[in-house]
């Protein structure tokens, strides 16, 4: 589903590479944690998958596409196959919960009928049934993140990228979000989650890819956050 072949990303000529010959293969339906300290290359890793950046060396394949060769006008099609969730939720503050989720379908040209049937299903899935008409500021952090997940997943993309989805949430709420991501993973969706949250990683016992200084230093099935903890 996602394959990096010696992928390297150098932002500025002469600077230390943000990602240094990373080779990783993630299969359909995998649940993978991407760990590492700040500046280890996690964000670059995700940006390469979303084709926000192009690799300066090596190859990146996502959902059957060779991203090095993907032309700019095909990028939107790639992004329709990837849902993305962020630490800061990125909801539209002047739209209701329903409208926020529907927005993702509207802007890729789905029919009104499709939207009207899919959005309530998705809100039900993330546990927000009955809160369709709330505004984001009326929701708790956990609920806002659920809206963001609903928006990312409403088009049933085969890949879900999560960048520190629990970074702004307390541990109890985080567990709920992890359960939700696990449920989404069980529908066959590949989930790749970048995180700092060692407790979650240790509890979930999923595959862990660790980056340090742009290099993949560990790729372990059923791993924990870090072998040497600070």
């Amino acid at each position: 589903m996602i394959r990096f072949d010696n992928a390297t990303k150098v932002y500025k000529r002469g600077a230390r590479p943000a990602l240094d010959s990373a080779s990783v293969e993630i299969e359909r339906g995998d649940f993978v944690f991407l760990v590492g300290s700040s500046g280890s290359g996690k964000s670059t890793f995700l940006k390469l998958i979303l084709r926000e950046e192009r690799p300066t060396g090596g190859d990146v394949y996502v959902a059957g596409r060779h991203l090095n060769k993907l032309s700019a006008w095909r990028v939107p099609h790639l992004r329709r196959e990837i849902g993305a969730v962020f630490q800061d939720f990125r909801l539209l503050p002047n739209k209701t919960v329903y409208q926020n989720v529907a927005f993702a379908l509207q802007v890729i040209g789905k029919s009104r009928h499709h939207i009207q049937t899919t959005v309530p299903e998705m809100l039900e899935l993330v546990g927000l049934a009955g809160k369709e008409r709330r505004m984001p500021h009326e929701l708790s952090g956990g609920e806002q993140q659920r809206v963001a997940i609903a928006r990312a997943f409403v088009n049933h993309p085969p890949i879900l990228l999560c960048d520190e989805p629990t970074g702004n949430l307390d541990p109890g709420t985080s567990v709920g979000i992890m359960r939700l991501l696990d449920r989404i993973n069980r529908t066959g969706t590949t989930v790749l989650m970048a995180t700092h949250d060692d407790e979650i990683v240790d509890q979930m016992r999923k595959r862990v890819i660790e980056l340090r200084g742009g290099q993949v230093v560990r790729d372990q099935d059923r791993g924990v956050y870090g072998l040497e903890r600070v």
């Binding site: 790639l78 990125r90 539209l92 927005f103």
Partner: protein, 303 residues
Amino acid sequence: MRLRFILGEVFNGLRRNSTMALSVVLVTFVSLTFVGAAALIQMQIDQLKDDWYGKVEISIFLCPESSRNERCAEGAVTTAQEDAIREVLEEGALEPMVDEVYYESREEAYEKFIANDSDGIWSSLTAEQMQPSFRVKLTDPEQYQVVADATQGLPGVDTVRDQREIFSELFRFLNAATIVAAALAAVMSVAAMLLITTTIRLSALSRRRETQIMRMVGSSRSLIQMPFMLEGAVAATTGAGLAIGTLYLGVRYMIDDWLKASVTWVDYVGSADVWTVAPWLLVIAVALAGISSIVTLGKYTRA
């Protein structure tokens, strides 16, 4: 769905940025009014030229009895000299340029002169004091200089005068007015473009969250950029509409109602000419907005 979405976004953008949108409307309005005015003045000049130059003749004044002009030192023009001049006009190299030659004798000139002198101030003049002349109509009025040069030095010729000289002052004035209008239009158009650029940029920045999400969920670049482009286009087109309205009213009230009544001997541009200019103003408005959007949007709504 998409159309509704785009229109909704355009409306929202214009509403949120209403003061900027209004300034774009006003600036394009003023600049396009000047563009239109310049175009109408040029059309007026062309119309006058067509109208008048066709009627205009070259007058070759022949030497009278007594003249201070040293070319006429030998006294009045002789018949032989007149024939020689006529031959130059009708048979030589000038022949293809000359449409018609008419000889106005002293007596005819005198009669015309007296007929125009209703107050009788010049009644003491006699036919002998008048100048005979050739009136030459040219096939192409622009060839005036060639004919003048060829006849100027001939014996018996006093002066050669082109009636166009009478109009040249007027045309010079109108051309200057065109240049002023065009210069103002150019400056205003630059201002309009900068304003449209700023407006689109503000609009894009204020909706960065939306565009970011749109990018993320994979909506096409055109759908992301379209609302901003349309916003600029709607504002600029509204400005063009106002400019067209102003030009129309200007022509209606200034020319149709006022000038036409007071100065009747001129053929003026009319409201029909405004409609000829109008589509071009709209095209310019859309082009202004288009160029500004392309310049701005590449940067602010990166795919």
